[in-house]
């Protein structure tokens, strides 16, 4: 009896060992693959530590010329900061409004036609896959300079991004509830408001706030392509070699993003309470 147990343990041990060996080999080969791709990328992007170290002199020179930050342009910065928040806020709001119909049309458990679903997903991918700045670039070319093309750019990108995540959430709805809603004679309004919406609400809210924060970050740089916001002042200061002013703008960008992140995190927590459990 005792022998068999030892034999079994022995066998188990060797099995485990060979399993472990296998995963080790797998992990090692993944690591080697990543290193190889990184090396190839380093060659392709002219990566060089020497260049970086040589650049430290320039960095010192740059900092020397840009410190201390100048407050000469403070009167122009403040309105640009509120404009940046405005662009992000409207871009997110309109994006959410557009994302809802897109998301429902892209969900297989809502729309039965695979053709419509795939077509809408294609639209969502295109909206999302093109980044805000490229959209802004296009809208600036289409409607001219100003904050409004920035709003449109964020709207389109957010509609795609939120559409994707919303539809993933919708597709995760308990099929039982969906069947109950579809069943004849059911109180659909009540089922949707009591059964489906509570399931969607926490994640939807979370995504909305996340994309508002992301939009603020994006809105700070839309000005680089002429679409309003604080980025416009930044690119002008850099182009005119007004480095102390540029430094003030960088600091204000950072402050804006940090304040918005904190505030949005507070509101998010307040709205969701313990509905979203962190793990």
């Amino acid at each position: 009896m005792a022998n068999t147990t030892i034999d079994q343990l022995d066998e188990l041990y060797y099995l485990r060992a060979s399993d472990r060996r296998k995963t080790q080999i797998k992990h090692a080969s993944i690591l080697v693959g990543i290193l190889a791709i990184s090396y190839w990328s380093a060659l392709g992007t002219e990566f060089s530590v020497a260049k970086f170290i040589n650049g430290l002199d320039n960095a010192y020179d740059f900092l020397d010329r840009s410190l201390p930050p100048s407050l000469e342009n403070a009167h122009r910065i403040l309105p640009r900061l509120t404009q940046t928040i405005g662009i992000a806020l409207l871009g997110t709001t309109f994006g959410i409004l557009l994302a809802f119909p897109l998301a429902f049309m892209a969900s297989r458990n809502i729309v039965k036609s695979a053709l419509i679903c795939q077509a809408v997903r294609l639209v969502i991918d295109a909206f999302r896959g093109i980044s805000e700045i490229v959209w802004a670039f296009l809208f600036v070319a289409a409607v001219g300079l100003g904050p409004f093309p920035g709003v449109m750019a964020l709207t389109i990108h957010n509609a795609g991004a939120l559409g994707k995540y919303f539809s993933e959430t919708i597709e995760g709805i308990d099929p039982g509830i969906m069947e109950a809603v579809a069943a004849p004679g059911s109180n659909q309004v009540k089922l949707i408001s009591r059964g489906i919406w509570p399931e969607l609400r926490p994640l939807f809210t979370n995504y909305m706030f996340y994309y508002f924060e992301a939009s603020v970050r994006a809105a700070t740089i839309l000005g680089v392509v002429g679409a309003g916001g604080i980025g416009l002042e930044f690119i002008l200061a850099i182009k005119h070699f007004k480095y102390p002013e540029a430094m003030t703008i960088v600091i204000s960008m950072w402050a804006l993003v940090t304040v918005v992140d904190r505030a949005s995190g507070y509101v998010r927590k307040r709205l969701l309470g313990s509905e979203l459990q962190r793990n």
Partner: protein, 285 residues
């Protein structure tokens, strides 16, 4: 943080009726200011619609081959050339992410309270992460141009710095939320900090880290595409030039190449993520 939906046992905090009216008024005021500040005007939008349709119409059809625009820096600006720029973009995203992951882990270990109890180091590193993350890649790129000049290397540095901050923050939050018991048992065996990382944290949070990394790789790819607009390498420069020369058909073809890259990466990373977490919806926020 990663959030997964869970049944709500405790209702979220409710507003009192008086507060509700005040908050409603504030929200309306904020929106009015936003409309005014951004010069958003629905009437103008409707009036401008034909122009917009005309502009986007003028981009079609995409012009992939035989670009003969006499650019000042390369006369034979062919399809192949743009594909090389696309490849460079991919390489920038890869390297930016890899560097950011390495430094992000280091910063995360220092910015996690349960690993680094020293208050000064903890708060200092946390502030550093916030600083790196709070400034976007494009701004970093513009600053690095002054340091190392134009080119893809600048873009890599910009991506690496921003993402080091972002990943450092998210990794450290994940580590802080970790089960205390695992850390204690690894530390009790006299493990060094490196050993704690490789034997305590990685086995526990590896898949979570992986989904962050994949998410940020996608993000970096999209950002690498626009860094070219400020001269930091990649395919963005092709878009900039095409737009500046009013060659909208070429611009569209560049955008389509960008889109194909992003969509392929998105699908691939979706597949990897699904294999890692078994189809569970992991939300990176």
């Amino acid at each position: 943080m990663v959030n997964t939906p869970s049944p709500s046992n405790i209702a979220p905090a409710r507003w009192k009726p008086g507060q509700r009216g005040l908050i409603g008024a504030i929200i309306i005021a904020v929106y009015i200011i936003a409309f005014w500040q951004t010069e958003t005007d629905p009437v103008m939008l409707v009036l401008g619609l034909p122009d917009m349709v005309k502009f986007f119409g003028s981009m079609f059809p995409p012009h992939f081959f035989g670009w003969d625009q006499p650019y000042f820096y390369n006369k034979e600006s062919e399809f192949q050339y743009v594909l090389l720029a696309a490849l460079e973009t991919f390489q920038m995203a890869v390297l930016g992410t890899v560097i950011a992951v390495v430094f992000g882990f280091v910063l995360a270990m220092l910015a996690a309270r349960n690993i680094t109890p020293n208050v000064f180091i903890y708060h200092g590193v946390r502030t550093l992460c916030d600083g790196f993350r709070g400034i976007s890649e494009v701004v970093w790129a513009l600053l690095f141009v002054a340091m190392v000049g134009l080119g893809p290397f600048t873009g890599v540095l910009a991506l690496a710095v921003h993402n080091t901050g972002a990943l450092g923050k998210f990794f450290s939050e994940a580590i802080e939320a970790m089960d205390e018991g695992i850390l204690e048992s690894v530390e009790a065996s006299g493990a060094t900090r490196t050993q704690v990382f490789f034997h305590g944290i990685i086995p526990e949070l590896g898949t979570l880290f992986m989904s962050y990394i994949l998410y940020y790789f996608e993000h970096n790819l999209r950002q690498a595409m626009v860094l070219g607009i400020v001269g930091a390498g990649g395919i963005g420069i092709e878009l900039l030039l095409a737009m500046k020369y009013f060659n909208f058909n070429k611009a569209l073809s560049v955008i389509i190449i960008m889109l194909v890259m992003v969509v392929i990466t998105d699908r691939l990373s979706g597949m990897i993520r699904k294999r890692l977490v078994g189809g569970e919806l992991v939300v990176v926020t």
